[in-house]
Amino acid sequence: MRALNRKLFRDLWGLRAQAVAIALVIAGGVATWVISLSTIESLENSQRMFYQNYRFADVFASLERAPLVTVDRIREIPGVRAAEGRVRASATLTLQGFDEPVEALLTSIPEADDAMLNRLFLEAGRLPRAGDDSAVVVSESFAEAHRLNVGDGIDAIVRGQSSRLVISGIGLSPEFVYQIRPGSLFPDHKRYATIWMRQRPLAQAAGMEGAFNDIVLQLERNADAAAVVEALDGILERWGGTGAVLRDDQTSHSYLREEMEQLRAMARIVPLIFLGVAAFLLNIVIHRMVRMQRDQIAILKAFGYPNRTIATHFTGLVMLIVLLGIVPGLALGGWMGHGLANIYREFFRFPELFFRVGPPVIASAVLATAGAALAGTWRALWSAFRAAPAEAMRPEQPTGFRRSLVERVPLFRGLDQPTRMIVRSLERQPIKALLAVIGIALAVAILVTGRFQQDTIGFMLDVQFGFAAREDMTVTFIEPTGRDALHEIRALPGVIEAEPFRAVAVKLVHGHRSHRSAVQAYGRDATLHRALDRSLEPIEMPDSGLLLTDWLADQLAVEVGQSVTVEFLEGRRPRLEVPVDGVVREFVGASAYMGLDAVNRLLRESDSISGVYLTADPSERDRLLGELERRPRIATTSLLENAVAGFNRTMGENIRIFSLVNTLLAGVVAFGVIYNTARLALSERARELASLRVLGFRRGEVAWVLLGELALLTAAAIPLGLWLGYGFCSLIGRAMASEFYRIPTVIHADSYAFATVVVLAAMLVSMLAIGRRLYRLDLVEVLKTRE
């Protein structure tokens, strides 16, 4: 081996602890890079394949009821390639061994063959045989949640009529990649099912013979989508159409889109933090090394080694460290990526979600890492390249220490000499100290951010279920019904309280902005289900005005006191100007709110209600559920079972693994920064410290000079890091805000404490490692070497 290469490896060996610390940080950056990019890629691929091969529709509309011939008219709209009318109905399922009602959305497929659009991918079994009225295909997630197999039976109640369904197939549809009950926080595959059955039996059960109440369209390649939507809305208006939407507003698709947006944001930010920290650490290490080896560089140049060779030599060292980080980083990224893909498989149902770390991702990770490393070290490398052989032979001048500003502070005079050394050293290299503080602070911030998800979801659930939605169950009627239904429910056994609500699909318009939403209307005296104001206090329903969710108010750019145009999409479809009386804070969904009486007044419907919220005596619950199922007017009954429990059961393990890895990575960053800072301080000041020892200072006193500086840096970094962490979380919350949910920046004191403790632990470990070296400091050796 060439002597120069040997020097390279021995230098690396001398740096091993620092090199490993830096390599770990790099590994974190590479891993997060690989995870996010590969996951995006695999989601995009799976989505594209599924949408293409199973003909995901472009336009979606639902309506009250229209005769089937209307579909032909719709096909005539210019730009429409295909149109398929369907029957949709809600059902309540009862399963053996599961004593809660399950809400189901039934969708029809044509009498023969598969659907034209949103075709089914069959995981098992087959499509219902034509004429077999009880055969259905159930969604894979639901089948999995209840371990259902082909051939199993389910009891379904549609419009009060119970019937027995038999599973002929288990499948997936591009329309339901993400399956969530409208208004829920998480998918709940145990209590929400998607089911497909043949058109005729479903139409019969839903009272839709010869008619359809839902339609999907496929457009020509260069169709004017907005014009199609307008024409479609025009045709459906008299059939109770609630407004057509494009893919972007389709529930499953938009959840998927939001998720990929978040992943892209993660791909941009997180690896950047890791690689930035790695670049910084490499900077201080290599800079230091080049400075320490000035005379070696000079001697090599004096003997005729060209600048290029010298620069390549040090670049090689940097690249070796980079390599040391890339290899485990790729492995970690691949491993965690598979884990993440499994989480996604739980949420997003594709025929296949194939996670693969492709060569382009690897290449980009390698390039990004090498780039970051060179960006961090180019100045040091350049100075090695430039070092004049003669210049370097002169002993370095002692660094210029001056009396400085702090020394005028009276307090300074009270300090002992070692403490003065700390202060002067920090003052002399303020940039380095600042960067170290930022590095440690970033680690603190990563730790805080890692705990944010759990904290804020907990908070959202507490607010939602402890404060806003305090009912035990929600009963929804097939269509708006008179008040007598409320009295009927109130009289059922076990009902403690019951409150009516009305929900109407609307289009809200303000200026050139518009948004499709729903008006939720409650009684003025509602206590079970309430809207909350900005400070999360219950807010009373106004007499005649409208309350808007803050997100919706922002979207419409409307302020309290202004008014918006409300186009009701039901009943006699009035179009009215309504003043905005207030803003509602809501984490899930984005609705408008009105008083129940006001809505009925505007719709000229005397006292219609869409459903009832109720609380029930737990001991009577099963009997009550039985009673509710028997009522034909009731479409579904859903229990406000603690959604968290279900969520935690499926996701708990995965989330624990992820937050563990996250904590480890952040710990690595903290340790990397602190250890390197300390290690450098030790080598820079070994002479000074040895001199102090020679002068009779005790080990502890000498250690203070070094470790006191670390403690000071860490102490400065922690509050900065906590603040940064809060900032990151609120950025994430803002980036993730969508129609479906807004994430409040809620971080528990526990999480701040946790981040602080982890970083302090990293500091202690670094101090112990350095302390050990300090203890073994060979005085003679140190003083003998020239520096």
Binding site: G14, F303, G304
Partner: protein, 247 residues
């Protein structure tokens, strides 16, 4: 101008391999110009051993660095055989050093992470006609210590490794800047013996900088510098054996 310039003695038919004419070197330090060399005319001849004497700050190192192509003169001409060093670019100087010059410095400047043999090898690997690293170490009487790291060697031993490193590529000139400056006299003499031996055995033109008058006796010629100028050049009738020196 009190340049006591001299022609080489007539009986000395050796050709000059270095010719310096009107060489000056100035350093700009802030607003001040430091004139380290103020007009040097000097020839060095093949195979001779020249000692440069002078007080600290008189310009010895500056002169040597210019001769060795580590630094460039501000004005004047420095020729190594046919090659003009003054104003040459970095690549030329690098190539010049690589092919022709060996250096020995006051502080040895060995690479701590390489053994004695490897410290020599790092130079022989890039030289055209080097001797084996072990032979070079044997020449300075350190054959037995080839596998030791610099940290395991005394100062004198380290300096001898540095000499081995400098002569291993069989350079045309050997430039030594205070090679004994960091050593006690007994160790210093060992180092000088190594230099003397290399000069005789290989015929390498050797320049030794020192501020130690006693060393002058081992030279063919003694060049005295003061304040950036040559103040005197003298010939020794015979070179003294380093063993006989003491200070």
């Amino acid at each position: 101008m009190n340049i006591t310039h001299q022609k080489p003695p007539a009986d000395d038919a050796l050709p000059a391999i270095f010719r310096m004419r009107a060489v000056t070197k100035e350093y700009q330090v802030g607003d001040n110009v430091i004139r380290a060399l103020r007009g040097i005319d000097l020839d060095l001849f093949a195979g001779e051993l020249v000692v440069f004497l002078g007080a600290s700050g008189s310009g010895k190192s500056t002169l040597l660095n210019i001769l060795g192509g580590l630094d460039s003169a501000t004005s004047g001409s420095v020729r190594y055989q046919e090659l003009e060093l003054c104003g040459a670019d970095d690549a030329t100087l690098t190539e010049y050093r690589r092919q022709h010059v060996g250096f020995v410095f006051q502080f040895y400047n060995l690479i701590p992470s390489l053994t004695a043999r490897e410290n020599v090898a790092i130079v022989t690997e890039i030289a055209t006609d080097p001797m084996a690293p072990d032979d070079a170490l044997a020449l300075v009487d350190l054959g037995a210590r080839a596998d030791h790291f610099p940290g395991q060697l005394s100062g004198g031993e380290q300096q001898r490794v540095a000499i081995a490193r400098a002569i291993a590529k069989q350079p045309a000139v050997l430039l030594c800047d205070e090679p004994t400056g960091a050593l006690d006299s007994r160790t210093g003499i060992k180092v000088l013996k190594a230099l003397e031996h290399a000069n005789r055995a290989l015929g390498t033109t050797t320049a030794v900088i020192t501020h130690n008058e006693a060393i002058a006796a081992m030279a063919d010629r003694v060049v005295r510098l003061s304040d950036g100028r040559i103040s005197d050049i003298s010939h020794n009738p015979g070179r003294a054996d380093p063993e006989t020196l003491h200070w």
